[in-house]
Structures are given as C-alpha cells and as structure tokens.
C-alpha cells in the first residue's frame, strides 16, 4: 500500500488534534494599556498577575504571599508568585515572546528587576511604560534624597520601573574571628596578610563580585569624576591603576591564594556560615540580620561598611511590554509602594529591606508605621551606613570585568 496515510490515520490525527487544542493555554484577551490609576483599578478586578521574582529566600517569598493576600482582598487581584532561580529566565521568556511576535497576552505581568537586566530590557524595548504616572504612591518617593529611585545603575528609568527597595553594599564579619570591623582598604589588606585565606569575593562577572571591584575602585580613586561619564579608553589604565595595584597586593592572601573564587554571593554566605572565611558581603543592609534569624549565619555576625561611602542602588518592579494583565500589574506595583507594604518590608522580622519612600513626605499616621519597626541585630542604622556612592557609568564595568578576567579569571 503506497497511497499514503489511510483515512483512519487522518481521522485519528484529527481527533488527537481536536482533543489537544483546547488544552493549549489560551490567555484571556489582553486588556488595553490602562490610562489612569482609576482605569487600572477598574480593569484589574478579577485579573491574575504573574509576578516573576527570584525565589531563593523564604522570607521574601512569605512577604510576596502576604502582598498577594492583601491585593486579593483590597482590589480583587490574584497575585501568583512565579519563583525564579535567576531573573534572566524571565527576561529570556519575554525575549522569546518578542522573537515570536507575541505583542500581548504574554506570560509575565510583573518582574522584579534592576541593573543590567533592566538596561537590557529597556534597550530592547521589552518593557511597558512609562508606568510611574499611574502609581499614586509615587508621591511619597523623593528622587532628590534618593536619586537612584529614578536612575538604575546610572541609566534613567524614564518611568519604566517602579521602585521597590533600597540596596547598599555591606560587609559582614564574624565577630568571633574578626573582632573589629575593617573600615578602610589598607586595613583590609593588612588583616588579609595576617590572616591568609580568610577573605575572598565572588568571581566577576557575578553581580556582587563586579560590585566589589567597583567599590574598591571608588574607594581608592583620588578623582571619581571620570567614572561618572562613559568610558574613556585612553584613560582606562590611568584611572583604574589604583584598583589593579591593590588587587595585586591583596590577591596572594585571598582564599586559595586567589587562584579560585566562589561562584556567587550565596556561596560566599555559606562559606562564612561554615567558617571557611571570615567576611562576606551583600547588597541588602538587612541581609545579615535576616540570615541570623533563619539560622543561615552565626548570631555573632555583624555588618560594616567602608568609610568614605559605599555603592548603593535601588531595586524595582517593571511590566513587560506584552504583559497579559497590565492593569492588575499596575495595581500590584502601586500596592508594593504603599506605606503599609513598604513598612512591613522594612521590618527586620519580616524581610528587612529598606524603604524607597521619603518618610518626611508621609502623613503622621504612616510615619508611625516606620518609627515602630525593629531594626535587626546585625543591621546598621542609616547614620552608620554612611554616604551612598553612585554606580560608575556601566561602560566602565564591562572594561573592568574584562581586565579582571584576563588577570585573575582563568
């Protein structure tokens, strides 16, 4: 028999298709972009918002679950936390949507993001916006006192991101091993010489690893002004020389003599907990307190910052260009900005993530929410945290990472 598929085959195939087809996800018709917060509130009721956010911390997951219960009862919005192991997974899916020409009905409604991921999504026009004019709670945000709320890694957000929390580079030390914090880089070097193998940092281009290089450079540089503007290739060697000199002296005294570096900052924290090193670092000032409360660090761990200021920035939420529930996402973003939600987030017993709101702009009632918060055993007060240094222009980072890989990364 050579005539091809039999009639039975075609029938079976058609049957299979007709059974399968309805099983395929057919996202509800996408809402048109909301024009105002009132419109968003009206359209959001009944929507499901898929919030793609890193899921590696139980306390953050619990906080998002709380926010979900709140927006459900207040606005009738169902919040689904899609737990990611890497934010890039969500960027990839939005990108796949764009490649496939999917202009709405996309799978991601809200995404927890900042820095380079944001820069990439903005550049490739993968975001919906601007959105901040749709968020009434933006009135409590003050870009003068906290400039990074509108400028993510030196890139203007242009309203495409809603600020969620503040971050600042903080070091953690086990006071049982290292009694007094090291406030300057020469102190760190002297201590590392006396205690070889007890300090290291994640291998750049890991986020924290790269931040350490930037922090070292900013702390060592006599003149920071060239770093505020785009890379000047001619001046690269001259401007970054203090960093390479310092690393040259420090590296032989690092963990494994600087021949290997941990893969990530979570690996670094684990090493501090295991006693393999004495200092770790993170971008959240409340990280140590939170880790102590969860048993992830000894209760003898405390925080310190380098004198002269440390790199700080803001993390945000944003809405992909093809989000299915844009109105719902706007409502959730605004709720996350509300004094109630921000105060709960800053509570060291809940999450311990500093607020993006300017307290002086709040009503007396709302300000009380913040005044009553516990601080956390290992969290520095805003005064102790010291000045926030802005990120160098991103073009410098690329060149510094490349040089580091040449010198130490292989």
């Amino acid at each position: 028999m050579t005539i091809g598929a039999t009639r039975r085959d075609l029938f079976l195939g058609g049957l299979a298709l007709s059974v399968i087809w309805p099983l395929a996800s057919q996202p509800a018709r996408a809402d048109s972009a909301p024009a105002s917060n009132e419109a968003a509130l009206a359209a959001a009721r009944g929507q499901t918002v898929y919030f793609n956010a890193w899921g590696g911390d139980q306390r953050i997951n619990d906080y998002i679950a709380w926010a979900g219960a709140e927006v459900a009862s207040r606005f009738g919005v169902t919040l689904q936390h899609v737990k990611l192991s890497d934010t890039a997974e969500a960027v990839t899916r939005v990108l796949a949507g764009k490649i496939a020409g999917q202009m709405d009905g996309g799978g991601i409604d809200l995404i927890w993001i900042n820095g380079e991921n944001f820069a990439a999504m903005k550049k490739q026009e993968l975001l919906f916006g601007p959105i901040i004019q749709l968020l009434p709670n933006m009135h409590y945000v003050d870009p003068v006192s906290k400039p990074t709320v509108l400028s993510d890694f030196a890139i203007a957000t242009d309203g495409y991101e809603s600020p969620w929390g503040m971050a600042q580079l903080v070091f953690f030390h086990d006071t049982k091993r290292l009694v007094h914090p090291l406030r300057t880089l020469p102190d760190l070097l002297a201590w590392a010489k006396a205690n070889p193998g007890r300090f290291t940092y994640p291998a750049p281009p890991d986020f924290i690893g790269s931040t350490i290089l930037k922090q070292f450079l900013l702390s060592l540089a006599t003149d920071r002004t060239p770093l505020d503007v785009a890379l000047d290739a001619v001046r690269f060697d001259e401007v970054t020389a203090p960093l390479w000199d310092y690393l040259g002296s420090l590296t032989p005294h690092l963990w494994r003599q600087g021949r290997s570096y941990p893969a990530s900052s979570t690996a670094l924290r684990q090493m501090l907990n295991d006693g393999e090193i004495d200092i770790s670092m993170a971008f959240n000032p409340g990280d140590a307190s939170s880790a102590i409360a969860q048993g992830l660090l000894p209760d003898s761990v405390r925080s310190f910052v380098l004198s002269g200021g440390s790199i700080g920035n803001t993390h945000f939420v944003a809405i992909p260009f093809n989000a299915n529930a844009k109105a719902g996402a706007v409502v959730v973003a605004d709720f996350l900005l509300s004094p109630l939600a921000q105060a709960r987030k800053q509570n060291a017993d809940i999450w311990g993530d500093p607020t993006v709101l300017e307290l002086s702009l709040l009503t007396g009632e709302d300000r009380k929410l913040f005044a009553a918060l516990p601080q956390g055993v290992a969290t520095l007060s805003p005064q102790e945290l010291g000045p926030v240094l802005p990120e160098p222009h991103p073009s410098w980072m690329e060149a510094i990472e490349a040089r580091w890989l040449q010198l130490y990364g292989h």
Binding site: V91, K123, R256, G275
Partner: protein, 568 residues
Amino acid sequence: MKRILLSTLPGKLPPALALLLLVGTILVGLGLVVVTGFGYLPALGADAPSLESFRRLFADPRLWPSLLATLTAGLVATVASFLTALALAAAFDQAGENGQGWAHRFAVAVLALPHVALALGLAFLIMPSGWIMRTIAQASGLFPIPADWPLVTDRGGVALALGLFLKETPFLFIAYLTALAQIKPASQLLMARSLGYRNHIAWVKLVLPRLYPLIRFPILAVLAYSLSVVDMALILGPSTPATLPVLILRWANDPDLAQRFVAAAAAILQLLLVSGAILLWLLGEVVVKRLCSAWLSDGRRAWPEWIAKSGSLLLRGIGIVVVAAVFLSLLSLLLWSAAMTWRYPDILPQAISLAAWQRAGMTIWQPLGASLLLAIATSITATVLALACIEHEKHVRRYLVQRAERWLFLPLLVPEVSFLVGIHVLLVLIGLNGGWLAVGWLHLLFVFPYVFLTLKAPWRAFDLRFEHMALALGQSPWRVLWRVKLPMMRGSLAWAAAIGGSVSLSLYLPTVLGGEGRIVTLASEAVALSAGGDRRVVGVYGTLQTTTAALFFLAALLALRHRRWTAK
C-alpha cells in the same frame, strides 16, 4: 522525507509522525541556536550573519582552561564509572541472584537521587569544613579553623568527576545487570570453566564481547551527560573558570543580551565537544578491539595470581567507597533538613528544627501532584511511543527509525538552556506556551530518548522464535504482541517507564519555560527555593524528590519480580 514516510508506513503513521514532531521540535530549537551563533537574531537587532560571536568566544581567556576542565572531569568520570560498574556487574553476576539484591536496590536508590542533592551532600562530606574534616579535627585537635584546601570546586575538576562517578556508576551497573539478564551468560561460563578457564578471565573473554554492544548506549549517554552537566558542576565543579556548560548558562542568562550570541556560539562548540568525545570513545573501542583480539583467543586461562588478588581487593575498596560516600552524603542532607544550626567543627547539629519540613508540608501538595501527573503521563506516552517505533521498525525499513534515533540524542548532548529558548519561541508561535501540553511536550523531548534507548537493546535482543512460534500457531500479530511479547518484556518495559518517570521528575528548565512558571512541580520549586543556597531546603526537597522517584523504581522492581504473572 515525507513521501518516503507516507509510502512505507501505511497504518503506522501515528508513531512516525510523533517521532518526526519530536525531532522537528529539537531541530527548531537547535536551528535557532545555530543562526544565533552565526550572529542572526533580528529581535535583538542582529540581521547580518557574522563570525563575531565566535571571535568573542575564542578571545575569552576562560575558554581553554574551561574546556580542559570540562573534558578531564567528563572523561575521567566516564572511564572510571564504566570500569567500576563493569567490574562490579561481573562480580555480582558471578555471585548469583542472592548477592545482587541489595546492590541492585542500592543502585536504584542512587538513580532516584536528584543530582543536585547528591552534589550538595557530597560537597558537605568532602569540603574543608565538611563532615570528614570535622571528624579529623575533633579527633586530632588540629584545624581549629577549616583548612584552605581545594577539596571541592577544584580547578582540575576532581570533585566534579567524583560526584559524576558516584551518580553514574550505579546507573551503568543497573544497565549492565539488565543486559546480562538478556544474554544469560551462565551456561557459557560453565562451559569455559570446564575447559579450565578461571572465572574472571572467562567472563572478560566470553561474556564481555557479547555484553558490550548492549551497554554501549548507556555509556555514551553517561559520557554526553558528564560533559554537559550543569547542576552538579555548579556545586562541585571549578568556578574560576567554570566548566563550559556552566559558562554557556552564564552567557545565556547574562543581562547583556548581546552575550546570547556568545552563548549560542559556545553551544555549537559544546555540541562539537560532545560529538568529538563520542567519536574518541568509538575510536577507543576499535583500538581496544584490535589490541585485544589476539589476547582473547590466546587460550590463556588465568590471570597471574597477584593481579586477580589485588584487582578484587581494589574493587572491594572502590565498592565500599562508593556506597559509603553516597550513604553519608544522603545522611548529611537528611540531618541538614532538620538542623537549625550546624557549624564547624560540630559533627552533629547543635540545634534541631523541623521548620523546613513544616513549611514544605504546607506547600508541596500541588507541586507534587503536578510532578506525578507529568511523570506518569510522559513516561507512559514515551513508553508506548518507543514501543510502537521499535516494533514497527522490523516490519518496515529500519533506516527511518535509525535516522530519527540519532537526532533524538541531541537534547542529551547540549546544555538545555541553549536550545530550549528556540523551542520556547516555537511554542509561543503556535500558541501552546504556558499550558500543560507545552510542559508535557518539552518533558517528552527529554524523557523519550532515555525510554527509547533503554528499551531498544533488550527489545532487539528478544528471541524472535517466540514470536514466530506464536504467529505460526495462527495468532494475530496484535495478539502475539499483547499475549506473548509484552508479558515477557514486562520487566524491561517497566524499567524504561521508571527511568522516564524519574527523568521527568528532575526537569527544571523545560518545566519553567514550557509552563511560563505557571505550572509548578517539585523540581521547579526545589531549584527556585534552593537558589538561596540553604542546605535545609535542599535537604527537604532532595528527600522528597528521591522518595517520589524511588516510588517509580519500586514499581518497576515489583514488575520485574513478578515477570511471569500474566503468562499463566
């Protein structure tokens, strides 16, 4: 292709169509990798083909050391687990059914263990602040603080090779025992013994040459897997630089979307690396065959005594190390899952807390249900499909199936992150993304090759005389399949389905990409939650995943044991 298919497969369209769909999906995914690697991805504003991504890849100072570490760890792990599993299988084959029981059960338990869990447990066992060093520190009073020794994440990839060795040896061991059951070497060995051959040498000279063709696929699968493993390499492998698959993952996840071109170029290189290693292995087969052909028939009937003795001692030693390392790794994870604090140099946790278990108890039921549903559905689909393909290849021309077979290997050869993106684009295009069907389909891509290739060798070794006899007795082909062949092959079928189920249970990226994160399984939850590096979470989810996968293998073992019940 299509014409050939239609003209040769009357009435056999569904399996061939499914096979084509599977292969087609993979090719679309890889196709996107290839065009991206050559600099073409209009969505990112790149619309002119170029070799720029390869230039950037080869200019990266991490590339060569990374390749070297990838190759050494992968090859060492493969050769070591191949030889060890072979020696163990030979030893247990000669010990008879009684001795096999516990070893088989142990090997099955290791199969059920997720790679991540074993890797974390092993890391905790061997690292400078780990269990072994804690014991030494407590006993000797030395090492008040952990030593700064590269015992894990070492640059040479030794720890990674060890982890792979522990995980793959049991897999090969089971594959060998299954194959041995097919060729029934006992009578041959008896004859050799009557001719004066000692046991071991008779086994190598008579059984091994017949066994090897049946076990070739599992070895190549182990080789490919060892070279492209990501999850174990993240925990045990070198970090400065990381192995190539990990670098690919990093590039593919880099916030700078331009790095995706480098990731794609590296994925092409990875494909070449794995293909090269497989060729190398096949070449090695030829060389060994040449070198040994004279020895095989030289009539020598015994090893020198000292070789036989030291060999058996060594084997015993390795066997004990494997069992002990796996057992202690598992035990440490179990302890971790209930530990509040457990710091150097304490051998046991200082404080116990069941919080991690209680938390899991509240949230796992839905993911567990989804995992089971997907695992059962995809393993049954894959088994039926594999059965249909293998069964009909003997009625029709073999080459179609064989040609398709090669492509089916592909998902096992490249890190999934590199080509799943292309498949995701396809899913979005046909509007299937974010649903059960999409997740099931992506799972099938990974489940089917394992099921198909596990089933293939024993199926082809089936003694066709049974079938012919039944046909000669006037039974219809369907009835012969149903009443004679399937009952006789019940064990192999159950085993293949169990392997398929366990593969499905372990899939993270296909679940997240296909389901857009809306379908949450045990594996996706486990990976996302353990991104924070909390050993307690890994301990809880590792235990849960192991238990779930073990259920599948347990069912298969029961089926193996009651092989004959339908024949009555």
